[in-house]
């Protein structure tokens, strides 16, 4: 089954196509603040370069974040509507798992980290690779790097866009240098591969219900508080 995977959680359009286990295309377009403007053209371009059309796609992998929520909403909406229009199934995939996917061959515990964009907060998750694919270990983590260090009990491979920075920070707290760093962003083919496995087992999401993976209710509250402070400041003006 041909699966198209998209992730827009960084400031990029990550688009990939897999055929079962085989990667046909894997490209990340650095779109910065043009993510919405370019997404459809980029998808069309990736399909076109591989002589594919939308009709050839049997299923869709949709990156759900965490990451930049504004960006994620673009990919989730596009993925949802592609599945809806074609009548093919869709499967949402956590961006952290997509990040960890590239490190799947590692013997070590994998830690995927994404910047939350506010006050030194990060989103993270642990995975173990193996013959049966990735397995998440423990719950998602939302907090600062020091708190993450508290969860680290063994040598790690850390996967993140700023992997060196987190590796150094973690290393300082843990007083250890037994952390490997892999600088990577979530890839479209990773999302597609993870979705393909599940879709092939008949496991798919309710298309219209697809929504970003908002990790903690408190993140929404944080936005409300920030908005209220700003509104109060301007109202008294």
């Amino acid at each position: 089954m041909l699966v198209l995977g998209i992730d827009t959680s960084g400031y990029a359009n990550a688009i990939g196509v897999v055929d079962g286990e085989r990667v046909l295309a894997d490209f990340t377009f650095q779109t910065r603040n043009e993510s919405l403007a370019r997404i459809m053209l980029n998808i069309d371009s990736v399909l076109g370069e591989n002589s594919l059309s939308l009709e050839d796609i049997g299923g869709f992998g949709v990156g759900l974040g965490p990451g930049s929520w504004t960006g994620i909403r673009i990919g989730v909406t596009v993925g949802k509507m592609l599945a809806y229009c074609t009548g093919r199934p869709a499967k949402g995939i956590s961006t952290l798992e997509a990040l960890a996917f590239g490190a799947g061959d590692c013997q070590r515990l994998i830690c995927a980290v994404v910047d939350a964009g506010a006050r030194e907060t990060i989103y993270a998750a642990f995975y173990r690779g193996g013959n049966n694919g990735l397995r998440q270990v423990g719950d998602y983590y939302v907090g600062d790097v020091a708190g993450l260090a508290g969860l680290v009990k063994e040598p790690l491979t850390l996967v993140a866009a700023d992997a060196q920075k987190y590796r150094n920070a973690l290393g300082q707290v843990l007083k250890s240098d037994n952390i490997e760093a892999m600088e990577a962003a979530p890839g479209g083919a990773a999302v597609a591969s993870l979705a393909a496995t599940r879709l092939q087992n008949g496991e798919h999401d309710d298309t219209l219900a697809l929504a970003p993976l908002y990790l903690k209710e408190s993140t929404a509250r944080a936005f409300v508080n920030k908005y209220k402070r700003r509104a109060q400041a301007s109202a008294s003006g």
Partner: protein, 223 residues
């Protein structure tokens, strides 16, 4: 002192200009040269004094190794041990934005690579630097033309802004215009087993892994 900037074509770069640049490099100078992943500080990677100039220009720590650009895998073979994996990946992805970390040979000065026994090899998909390496018949340092820690420049005005006063130490700038890709190279360490992704750049790690798997298990994926 105004640094010399010469416009150079991306597709059929002027041989005269390349020869001039090659002479400068052979004499130990540092120039700015376009690559497929941005503008680079290009110098003779075998010349200790030239290497020191580059480190100083960037304010880069000597513990941070630099990669080298060559024109082919054959040329790379003079400076690093070429493994079957490297051959396969080169066949599929090079010239391209992929850096292969391989065991270095004696010819590479330890100063270039922070004393490690590995070196990163690039065969960039850019005619100017490939021809420069050919004409100079030397491996060229392939580090971005900026001060350490700054973003990569993709145009000469960006280079000027990022280098600031340090640009006076550059003997020549080859201006190819704006480099469209705005991406970095993917870095893969082939000296460990299994090969390890160090940095995801333009070339997809999943596609790389797929090629490597086909090498070890030819019965699996078909290209």
């Amino acid at each position: 002192m105004q640094v010399e900037i010469e416009k150079i074509r991306a597709k059929k770069p002027s041989v005269l200009l390349l020869r001039k640049a090659a002479r400068l490099i052979r004499r130990g100078a540092v120039i700015v040269c376009p690559t497929d992943t941005g503008y680079a500080l290009a110098a003779n990677a075998l010349d200790i004094r030239a290497i020191i100039k580059v480190f100083n220009l960037k304010g880069r720590a000597y513990s941070n190794p630099m990669h080298i650009a060559v024109n082919s895998l054959e040329m790379a073979g003079r400076y690093a041990r070429i493994t079957p994996e490297a051959e396969h990946l080169a066949h599929s992805f090079l010239p391209g934005a992929l850096t292969l970390v391989l065991t270095r040979k004696e010819s590479i000065p330890p100063l270039l690579v922070a004393g490690r026994n590995t070196v990163g090899i690039r065969i960039p998909d850019n005619r100017v630097i490939l021809d420069l390496a050919t004409i100079a018949d030397l491996p060229i340092t392939a580090t971005s033309a900026n001060a350490s820690g700054q973003p990569t420049p993709y145009s000469v005005p960006e280079v000027m802004k990022l280098l600031g006063e340090a640009v006076e130490q550059v003997a020549l700038i080859l201006d190819q215009g704006i480099i469209p890709s705005r991406s970095l190279s993917t870095i893969v360490d082939l000296t460990v087993s299994p090969p390890q992704l160090l940095r995801q750049g333009l070339v997809s790690w999943l596609e790389i892994r797929q090629v490597l798997r086909a090498l070890h298990d030819p019965g699996s994926a078909q290209a």
